[in-house]
Amino acid sequence: MSHPTLTLSQGSRAMSKSLIKRRSILKGLGAASFLAVPVFRATLAEAQAAPLRLIVLYFPGGAMMTGSQQIEGRIGGQGMFSYDKMLAPLAPLSSDILLFENIVEPVGPDNYDLGHGSESTILTGNAGPSLPEGVVFIPPGLTSFDQVVAQKIGKNTRFASLQFGVFSNTPDSDGPKSGSIVYSNGASVPNVLDPATMFSRLFNGAPPGPAPSDADALAKQQALTAKRQSILDLLKGQVTDIQGLVGSAEKLRLEEHLASLRELEKSIMSPTGGASGGIVSAPGASCGAPSLGAGTDVPAVSAAMNELLYQSINCDATRVASLQMLNSGAELFFTWLGLNNMGHHPMQHAPGPDFVIAQNWLLAQLAVVIQRLKDTPEGSGSMLDNSLVFLSSEMGDGSLHTNHPVPVLLAGKAGGQLRTGRTFNANGNNRANLALNIGNLMGAPLLNWGDPKWVTGPLDLG
């Protein structure tokens, strides 16, 4: 399943050496330096290259790219996914964007368009076998490209990756209900949809104070750390023992469990954190726990998740994050826009001006994420310059449920490797192959990844 044409042409980054150097310095400083990363960045940012980040942004329902342009009087081609139409919210960012034309999702089994099913292929490049509707079968070991990147670059941050979601609902049906596009080791990695849950995950525990000065408090702190480490060691041993008893697919799924324990292990470095740990916001810089609005409606959740995602990157709590606005097929009513008569999924099937308004709103939320990165200075540029944002939707045309073409754009310069401010015609090449480019750009080549029928080699992005 290897890709013979895999090249590192885009992966040999000018920055990789300095990153390695940075890691070794971190190592030299000892474990406690995890907590000081933001400070570290603030003081050494000028001398050291900033880390690369990968951010996946997703909205469902597509952009009416093939069949529904009658509204706008346009047929074929790029359809509505252009700066003067659905992408209007991203127009101010166009100089930081590489916009794709004519890029497709590979077809599904029996040459059917995958429709909602491409929610599970968009990041994985693998559709798995054809199964009756509603059966969740995840091919053993299936891993989405963001997770391959996270495995590679996530070791030195508190969280290898974070999954943000805004809204997910599919009323009781026999369909899969996870609604996440992220997979790891053959398991679906669910989104956190509740800002409070994500907040406590990120910022649980007391704010950092000075290390305890009296010997008594220090000893207590050390004892607590030792206890937590021992418990985690015990649990890791138990999971590993079970791995010795089970079949290969379960062995891989248990790797997810081990990864979860490793993440908890990082949290016990925080002496004041709760059981689930949390990043400790360092004084200085702009890193810190945001104050969240009290609302639970979708716009409020979206704003909160936006803020939390930004802070998780800004605080270097993670370098790999995804934000999924809605799940595929969500029946959400956009009441705050005055769209009271139809949910998001039905609007997809009866596309009209309301659907454009809804998609516009979703894309506007995602544009904010990109804008915030752009507005944050880093080194001689912005945080966006050192990031790679992948923005896409599962379908091209929600009405027809087609996946060719699909809306795709990259934003950010990936540390100077990517030339933005242009449109790239993929000439029918597929989204799974673009994932190879992303892996390379992130210094995490995707090996043995995806369905070999689809995944043949990276695009030549020029």
Partner: protein, 528 residues
């Protein structure tokens, strides 16, 4: 998701001879096979109840847990459940909180400081056995003891016990049910694995004292021994919740929380009607199962419903006058019969502003007849017909039947769904839509109860006598029992059970007991 078995016949699925869906994804399991070994993470409900029972809590812990991923409508499919980073940290948070709050003097009493070491061992062995649902191995014992010792060197006995408790409450041995047995490819489950299998099936929690004793004494081996335990558990109050959960997941009515309706058309749905529908469904299921004969036949044909003030308008009957209290009411003359005509089910199988004949037809095919439908052909335009205030839903959807590209499959769904046109988007009974009379003539094809019918009552009554529906019930019970898609063995068992129990209407409780009596219940094929 695209899927479906596209064979020579449009209708495949477990109820079609030779059209088995392959069961396990590898598709290599031969007929007669008991099914693959499985590592089954507890569902959130199972985890909460288990922890409640372990610690003797008044209520299950209400801490947040990421929702279970559903597969085929069920929350307990092992392939869909895993310990991700988020839920892993949630388990840790719960374990830390509960270990900190636990009454150690009750859980691990110790009379004197001199006896502490022995007390710790006793706790590890006894409580550990409850947590692991089998006796601890020497290695497991040693690891817990080492943790206790580490803490005890600098802290109290109580602190040592709390540390062990914190580890146990997030142990993989607690979080996963193993159905592995030992041996080569063909395996027999251990008595402890069988005890857990029985206990989670009927009680939704860890094995109770009696089950553990039966496992200890090798008294969970023969079908007679297993049947006795199954019937004992089925008689406990807990069984009402677990059997109810199975039935509601089968009929896809277990969760209305995400269901939204057009607020202009249905202003009371979100505020009062939805919660009343959920409660009314619980009452109906419980009534049939525990006050009635518990049969599939009654579930589908019962003339009564539980109606309160909120639901009276939906049923089109006068307010029973008891406020929010439900009154068991005969609604058979108001177009109702059993599960299929419950407002909850009809509202779920509908759109936000109108009925959904296709969805409802598909529901009957997949959930009640266990048939599978092929996916739509490539590039078919699936825009629903535009709203037309002068036509009924049925009239607008007639295009499906007219278009040759669509009619192949839609002839399987639409004629059934059209028969349910007398129920609107929230299941309210109606005879007129948009000023035009509702036509609820329908037709069943490709079943053992084929023929034209009029309305939901006739459809439900017809289905209540169908052997295919009864066999489907047994297949659904197998899905729920094993937490996986059915395999050929399950389909064969379903036929056997229909032969045994069908004449009396297929008692769901007897189906569940019968599943525990099959060889599949205690054996597995190891999938390396």
């Amino acid at each position: 998701m695209v899927g479906g078995v596209v064979g020579s016949t449009a209708l495949g699925g477990a109820n079609s001879v030779g059209a088995g869906t392959g069961g396990a994804p590898s598709g290599v399991i031969p007929p007669g096979d008991p099914g693959p070994t499985a590592l089954r993470r507890l569902t959130n409900d199972e985890y909460r109840t288990t922890v409640q029972d372990l610690l003797g809590l008044a209520a299950p812990p209400a801490d947040p847990l990421l929702p279970d991923t559903r597969s085929l409508g069920y929350s307990n499919f092992s392939s869909a459940l895993t310990v991700s980073a988020v839920i892993g940290s949630q388990y840790a948070t719960i374990a830390t909180r509960l270990a900190g709050e636990a009454a150690i003097s009750t859980l691990a009493p110790c009379a004197s400081p001199a006896a502490e070491s022995d007390c710790a061992n006793t706790f590890i062995d006894a409580f550990g056995k409850q947590v692991h649902r089998q006796p601890l191995s020497a290695k497991e014992q040693g690891a817990y003891r080492a943790l206790y010792d580490l803490i005890r060197t600098t802290d109290t006995y109580e602190a040592g016990i709390r540390a062990v408790l914190e580890a146990m409450l997030q142990s993989p041995a607690l979080l996963y049910r193993m159905e592995y047995g030992t041996g080569a490819a063909a395996r027999t489950l251990s008595p402890y694995e069988v005890a857990s299998e029985l206990s989670y099936l009927f009680s939704g929690s860890k094995p109770d004292t009696e089950l553990m004793q039966a496992a200890d004494t090798n008294a969970l081996i023969t079908p007679v021994q297993i049947e006795a335990q199954a019937r004992r558990l089925l008689a406990l109050p807990r069984a009402q919740a677990t059997v109810g959960k199975f039935l509601e997941q089968w009929f896809l009515v277990s969760d209305m929380s995400g269901l939204l309706k057009d607020v202009n058309l249905f202003p009371a749905f979100a505020s009062t009607e939805k919660s009343a529908m959920e409660a009314s469904t619980d009452r109906f299921v419980a009534s049939v199962m525990w006050e009635g004969d518990g049969t599939v036949k009654t579930l589908l044909s019962a003339p009564f419903a539980f109606v309160n003030s909120s639901l009276a308008p939906v049923y089109g009957i006068p307010d029973p006058g008891m406020g929010e209290t439900f009154v068991k009411t005969d609604v058979s003359s108001m177009g109702r019969a059993g599960m299929l005509t419950l407002p909850s089910l009809l509202a779920l199988q509908a759109k936000e502003d109108e009925s959904a004949p296709v969805k409802r037809g598909k529901f009957v095919r997949t959930r009640m007849l266990c048939q599978t439908l092929p996916p739509p052909p490539p590039n078919v335009k699936i825009d629903p017909p535009a709203p037309d205030p002068n036509l009924t839903t049925r009239e607008r959807f007639a295009a499906h039947s007219a278009s040759p590209a669509c009619s192949g499959c839609h002839s399987m769904m639409d004629p059934i769904g059209f028969g349910l046109e007398a129920y609107d988007a929230i299941g309210t009974y109606r005879t007129v839509e948009n000023g035009r009379p509702v036509d609820s003539n329908g037709e069943l094809t490709g079943t053992d109860v084929d023929g034209k019918f009029t309305g939901g009552v006739e459809l439900a009554t017809r289905l209540s006598t169908s052997a295919m529906v009864r066999k489907c019930a047994a297949i659904q019970a197998a899905r729920y029992t094993y937490g996986r898609q059915e395999i050929e063995t399950d389909t064969q068992l379903a036929a056997t059970l229909d032969a045994q129990l069908g004449a009396s209407g297929m008692d769901v409780r007897e189906v569940l007991v019968a599943i525990t009596q099959s060889a599949s219940f205690t054996t597995r094929t190891f999938v390396p």
